[in-house]
Amino acid sequence: MNPYIALLISFALCAIVAGIMCGASWLLGPKVENKAKSEIFETGNPPLGSIRGIRFPVKFYLTAILFVVFDIEVVFMYPWAVVFRRLGWMGLGEMAVFVAVLAVGLAYVWRVGALEWD
């Protein structure tokens, strides 16, 4: 039995059950249209503008890029960790070099201030 098929079935089942729940809520719940109700909630004030053209702090994107870099490196570590016992000292040395390169990268990012939030 292929476990990925089991996963696919579980995903489908989960979506179906969530859909049934939402459907039940749609059937049972009231549906009263109201202009004030379907407005955006801005703590009681009339909503001002849209968020579509809003300018957002760049630090969030910086975090995302850092994440991509480091997460890819971490994913590289997994297959290495699985066969680590067979590699022995050789694998340890190679991974030490790999981690050292990453550490230099982290130190650089730290130094230029990309980790400062404000």
């Binding site: 989960c14 039940a24 968020i51 994913v75 730290w110 980790l115």
Partner: protein, 394 residues
Amino acid sequence: MQQFADYLLDEGILAGLPKSLGYALVIAFFAFVLLNFIMLVAGVTSWLERRVWARIQSRVGPNRVGPQGAIQWLADGIKNIMKEDIVPTAADKPLFKAAPYLAMIGFFGAWACVPFGDGLIIADLNVGVLYITAVTGLVVVGILMAGWSSNNKWALLGGMRSAAQIVSYEIPAAIAVNAVIVLTGTLSMQGIIRAQGWAPWNWFLFDNPFTFVAFFIFFVALLAEGNRTPFDLPEAESELVAGAFTEYSGLRSLLFFLVEWGNLYIIGALCTSLFLGGWQTPHFTDNGFVLGLVQFVVFFLKSYFLVFVAMWIRATLPRVRVDQLMSLCWKYLVPISFVNLLGAMLWVVAFPHGFLPARLGMFLFGIMVTIYFLMRVAFHLRRARPEMSWNPIA
């Protein structure tokens, strides 16, 4: 589960059906049971959490619906189904409606890989740990989608914060797991549990000092990934209304909360399977059913204890600031986990078959820390007694 499916196909009610269809039916049945189990666990957790906080903070908590308020969660669920499902006119409707589904699927995908017992798992993938790290990423997409599509400033800010926080903390968590994987040489959840023993000194938590540190890194990082206090900035009520879920009402908001409380159990279950020996019990009986039941209970109690610890932390600690959150991750947890990984590798190369004195030493150390902690708690309880004399129920 495989044996059960084979039994049903050979002599049970499914006899005569094509084999693949039979398997699919059995899996769908188990997935349905698991889904109901999740809702039960998440619901009971939501009630228990409020009771535990109330007890810790000298309040009463929900105690009206059922004995001690025990079916409060059911009342909440029914009420949420009966509520109107409001979609703001300015929102991006398809994205707004699809976001809870995505979060649900991401979180149920992680549950499908949680081993509740020997063979009691929906899908035992050979890349289990990696898969769970990956599929919980879908929850981020769901939250970000909710935040963006609501067209609300609070929601957008909450969604962005949530995404930044979850992706940052994924790195220390993923590195900390490596300390276990170098020991086992497998990524499969069942494989990792089978490599441990039922005795606490055979757990990976006490295997060597580096896995001990890895456990705490992993637990803290998972708390942050689950948006739990002290890291609950994405839905900081005092700052962002309700974060990414501000515009959600009725059942869709319930689905998001289901994901939150279900994820709490996932945190416990992952820590249990990777570090605390999972479902391992002594082989005391040959009766497969009894053994499976005991394994399930052991696993559930271990992971629920960690859920309780998370509740306890939430009731005790104040929320951190965003810059503190980010510097804790990038300036402390990431470097520590790198060093920890190198140490763990060195340990495995130096002692390929484990080192029993270190294991027992770590176990004794753990016991001593626990005893010291309990002594401190007892001391403070004794000292605080006069101020606790106010009884909210009387």
